[in-house]
């Protein structure tokens, strides 16, 4: 876009009021004699140095950049790890329950009902858990599942342990723990 530059008639040693109509001349080589009438204030404001605006823009850009960096840093610091202390606590609940069931030889029975009764005794009220016991045993064709149903739209944690029964059967125990809604 072509920018117009004006020459103010200041050389005439006149004083102008803001809003007063004055005649200005185009400072263009090909149109030196053209002129137009404008209001004094509008013309003057357009004509002054725009350094301050540039500095403000410069500052705004720098601040936007630095603030963006700060926001991104805060985001990554807070989202640095998806595993929270609450998840770890849930995992520990599952791990402790499996350890106690194993130490008390409850899993050795392969009795679905007994395992479920003991599981309910140990499980804190605000948690739900599914326990899957796999191994080379006849009950349930080597697979026992005790506990609640895995929720579809809820985060859960899971872990695995191995156990050995007194009869020498190796057990693979998988547990899923989630917070009750």
């Amino acid at each position: 876009m072509k920018q117009e530059k004006y020459l103010l008639p200041f050389g005439e040693n006149k004083k102008y009021q803001l809003g007063q109509s004055i005649k200005v001349f185009f400072n263009l080589a090909d149109n030196r004699n053209s002129s137009k009438t404008v209001e004094y204030g509008t013309l003057a404001r357009n004509n002054i140095d725009k350094k301050a605006y540039l500095f403000t823009f410069d500052l705004l850009m720098a601040l936007t950049l630095s603030f963006s960096i700060l926001l991104v840093s805060v985001f990554f610091l807070t989202k640095g790890s998806d595993t929270t202390a609450s998840d770890y606590q849930s995992l520990q609940v599952g791990s402790d329950i499996v350890t106690i069931l194993d130490q008390n030889k409850i899993l050795d029975t392969f009795d679905y009902e007994q395992i479920e009764i003991e599981l309910e005794k140990l499980l804190p009220a605000n948690y739900e858990m599914l326990l899957r016991v796999e191994g080379d045993f006849t009950e349930g064709n080597g697979l026992i599942e005790v506990g609640g149903e895995i929720p579809e739209n809820q985060p859960l944690v899971s872990g695995e342990k191995v156990g050995l029964t007194d009869s020498g059967t190796l057990l693979k125990i998988t547990y899923f723990v989630w917070v009750k809604e």
Binding site: A44, I48, T56, L63, V74, A85, V93, N104
Partner: protein, 162 residues
């Protein structure tokens, strides 16, 4: 002579200053807000991690030296586990008899306050050491299930800032 040039430049400066100050106020307040959130988050994580690690150390390790319960004051690391993984009753008794400051120093949690309690599965408190919380904002409690003398017990370890 143009006498208005100076006034117009001053107006421009005033506008720029006004914009600058507005932006600075916004930026400083946002900065303070985010720094506050960040510090709170860091403090919470520190508290949570300290609680989880302390309980893990207590319940999974035998302590250093391994027979520290004979002379608890010379112990370097406190641990309540026996070599088979269950809770050693003698170590637990020695731990409960230690003074609050000594326990906090050995667990390396002197910058916090703590409470260690043992419950049965019905929720009745059986034993406890440490202080009790009183309206503190940041509190982290870690619950674990253990076997003590062939009985299942719940250990609750609570940690909060001084």
């Amino acid at each position: 002579m143009n006498t208005k040039k100076g006034q117009l430049a001053s107006m421009d400066l005033l506008f720029a200053l006004f914009g600058f100050i507005l932006v600075m106020i916004f930026v400083i307040s946002m900065w303070a807000l985010y720094m506050n959130r960040l510090n709170t988050s860091i403090e919470n994580r520190d508290l949570e991690l300290s609680a989880l690690q302390t309980v893990d150390t207590l319940l999974r390790s035998t302590g250093t030296p391994i027979n520290w319960e004979i002379n608890p004051n010379t112990s370097e690391v406190l641990g309540l586990s026996s070599p088979d993984g269950s809770i050693d009753n003698e170590k637990l008794s020695a731990f409960l008899k230690l003074s609050y400051n000594s326990t906090a120093t050995k667990l390396k949690i002197k910058r916090f306050k703590f409470n260690f309690s043992i419950y049965n599965l019905n929720g009745t408190i059986l034993n406890s050491t440490g202080l009790f919380t009183n309206g503190t904002k940041q509190v982290v409690s870690v619950d674990r299930l253990v076997i003590i003398k062939n009985e299942t017990r719940k250990i609750s370890f609570t940690l909060w800032r001084k």
